[in-house]
């Protein structure tokens, strides 16, 4: 029974990890950039929502819209100012650029929203837990999970059915070839970053609604999406979703049944094992290199 309870909680938490992981995979597929600033983008999104909803007292729909607009602006600014000048640089430069970006965003958040933990005074989502045969499912986590799943369906529709989605898929296959086919790849890059910022914002709002927001404490939570990404394979969106859910489940099972502190680091143990045993992950592509 207890196992099932932790399993359920893990699954619901895993939904948020999956959301963050998909944001990382999207950016990686389209631009070959591994985004280490994902945690800060997430916290920033949460803070925007907090500002609109709590500080400005906007109604929920207006603050959601405002947060979305701010996420779009953030995503395009990040792409234009930080990553466009560093296109096709070495991997170390790119990693360092996203780390520098995370420092900048953290500094800005500390300046504008202080380092203290902020929480929504009135919850965005109803908090009364569902109880199904002794298994408690907090309602806001249920809603978070449902919102994440809806986001995945929208993404899948976008990628499979729209022309822009097709262009994005072709860019993720090969930059030069898609350029030759008339795809404006810089615009696709910008779009990818906007998507990443929006997904991060969604995750940030859900996370902030559950446990509060802090410029210092929230970003490390997003780092747990990295094991999820590598578990599923860094090229695969469905792998990222599955990896996110599995990471959440393992974290909660280990944390609940063995030791809470062990649960905190279990994603990283898995990460290390995956890297040693199967670096490509479950669904990742095996890379062939030429000299």
């Amino acid at each position: 029974m207890l196992t099932l309870q932790f399993f359920t909680t893990g699954l619901l938490v895993g939904g948020i990890y999956a959301l963050i992981a998909v944001g990382i995979v999207l950016v990686y597929k389209a631009t070959r950039i591994f985004n280490f600033a994902v945690g800060e983008l997430l916290a920033l999104g949460g803070f925007f929502c907090y500002t609109f909803f709590v500080l400005f007292h906007f109604p929920l729909w207006l603050s959601a819209l405002g947060t979305l607009i701010m996420a779009v602006i953030t995503g395009s600014l990040v792409e234009r100012l930080v990553l466009r000048p560093l296109l096709s640089q070495s991997i170390l430069t790119i990693i360092m650029a996203t780390l520098a970006l995370s420092c900048i965003l953290r500094g800005l958040m500390l300046i504008f929203w202080t380092g203290y933990s902020l929480s929504f005074p009135e919850p965005l989502l109803p908090r009364k837990p569902f109880i199904v045969r002794d298994i408690v499912m907090p309602q806001e986590m249920m809603w978070g999970f449902i919102i994440a799943m809806i986001a995945f369906i929208v993404l899948a529709y976008f990628f499979l059915k729209t022309r822009t989605g097709l262009r994005m898929r072709s860019v993720s296959e090969d930059h030069e070839l898609s350029m030759a086919c008339g795809v404006n790849i810089t615009r696709i890059f910008a779009l990818t970053w906007i998507f990443a910022a929006v997904l991060g914002t969604l995750g940030g709002v859900l996370l902030g609604n559950r446990i509060g927001l802090s410029a210092v404490l929230t970003p490390p939570i997003a780092l747990k999406a990295f094991p999820a990404v590598l578990f599923g394979g860094v090229e695969s969106i469905s792998g990222a979703i599955l990896g996110g859910l599995i990471t959440g489940i393992i974290e909660n099972l280990v944390g609940g049944l063995i030791d809470p502190s062990l649960g905190e680091i279990s994603p990283y143990v898995i990460l290390l094992l995956v890297l040693i045993l199967r670096p490509t992950g479950l669904f990742g592509l095996k890379r062939v290199e030429r000299i």
Partner: protein
């Protein structure tokens, strides 16, 4: 290596020597004497900063070997320093080792730890490896806090007795200064040599193209592990010195942020360059000091609600901005600028416009 006109290397020893001409000898000796005299003139606060810079230089040189020369990205340098610091503390407190005996053990253990976390580098590289070292950054503090809190002290700050050398107690910062500076100078000298010996060239070959290096007959896995070993060895040395310098250890110091700073330092200085790592460390550490001193003045211009948060946020903001500007406008770092200045000086008055 550049020599002034008329200096002939007629023996092999002369050819490979780092310090060659009388002028270079005078400069070297003069700077060593100047280093030795620093505690006589500098005040206590300056010495503390200089000690911190010395320790950071040792750690940054280690990271420079791994990231700059071998091209393997590590996000766990601070964690490895933490390993060294805690081994040092445990050996001195629980087994009663003198610090000079505990230091090599701390280095060795940290080195082996680094090799363990470098094992995934057999099959992965690039950001996958950054992930593996990121895991180290989270696993090491966990091990320190949870495995044997009765020995490591868990999350508490553990003090050590002041170290002593040849019967002299290293109680003041200016005495510890000599230990730290000795280690720093030796490390810089060794790294300078490492860069041009067989191992260093193998490292550089692996960085430039690991497949080509393997085809040429290098055992790249062995060299990658060796690189991890040297990197963490120096991290262990820096950590052990940190323990002596602070007189205490706490697990909260060795954070991911600190690891990112070390990467930032070698990028600002110039990747793969030994003097670059020194420049970068001095630059970033002084920047931090500058912010601490000037942040209250800056925040004075803003309403009081913002003042405290500006002081806190200014540092990551400026650090990130500087790294980004260096990446975009001067990816070869300060050491490259230094070479340009040297060339300009050498060919003056016929030097091309800078």
């Amino acid at each position: 290596m550049w020599r002034p006109c008329g200096t002939f290397d007629d023996t092999y020893e002369k050819n490979i020597s780092i310090v060659r001409t009388p002028a270079q000898w005078i400069l070297t000796l003069a700077s060593l004497v100047a280093l030795a005299l620093v505690p006589q003139f500098a005040s206590g606060r300056v010495i503390v900063t200089v000690n911190l810079i010395g320790i950071s230089i040792i750690s940054a040189q280690g990271l420079n070997v791994l990231t700059g020369m071998t091209g393997q990205i590590s996000l766990g340098q601070a964690a490895f320093m933490g390993v060294g610091a805690f081994i040092q503390m445990m050996l001195m407190n629980h087994l009663g080792f003198p610090f000079w005996l505990a230091l090599p053990f701390a280095m060795l253990f940290t080195g082996l730890m680094g090799v363990f976390f470098g094992l995934p580098s057999l099959r992965i590289k690039g950001f996958y490896l950054a992930m593996a070292t990121l895991a180290a950054q989270f696993l090491v503090p966990w091990m320190i806090i949870h495995i044997r809190p009765d020995i490591t002290g868990g999350t508490n700050t553990i003090t050590i007795k002041p170290a002593s050398l040849f019967g002299m107690v290293l109680s003041s910062q200016s005495r510890i200064y000599y230990v730290i500076m000795f280690c720093t100078v030796v490390v810089i000298y060794l790294m300078r040599n490492l860069a041009r010996c067989k191992i260093g060239r193998a490292f550089i070959a692996i960085r430039d193209n690991d497949l080509a290096a393997e085809v040429m007959g290098l055992e790249i896995f062995r060299y990658k592990l060796l690189s991890f070993f040297i990197c963490s060895l120096l991290a262990g040395l820096a950590g052990g010195l940190w323990t002596i310098w602070m007189g205490s250890v706490n697990v909260d110091i060795f954070t991911l942020e600190e690891s990112v700073w070390y990467l930032g330092m070698i990028i600002v200085g110039g990747l793969g360059s030994v003097p670059g790592a020194v420049f970068g460390v001095i630059f970033i550490r002084l920047l931090y000091l500058f912010i601490i001193i000037w942040a209250p003045t800056v925040s004075g211009f803003f309403p009081t609600v913002f003042a405290a948060s500006i002081e806190k946020g200014l540092h990551p903001l400026l650090f990130g901005l500087i790294i980004l500007l260096f990446l975009i406008y001067e990816p070869r770092g300060m050491s490259h600028r230094w070479e340009i200045v040297k060339n300009w000086y050498r060919s003056w008055p016929f030097s091309p416009g800078v």
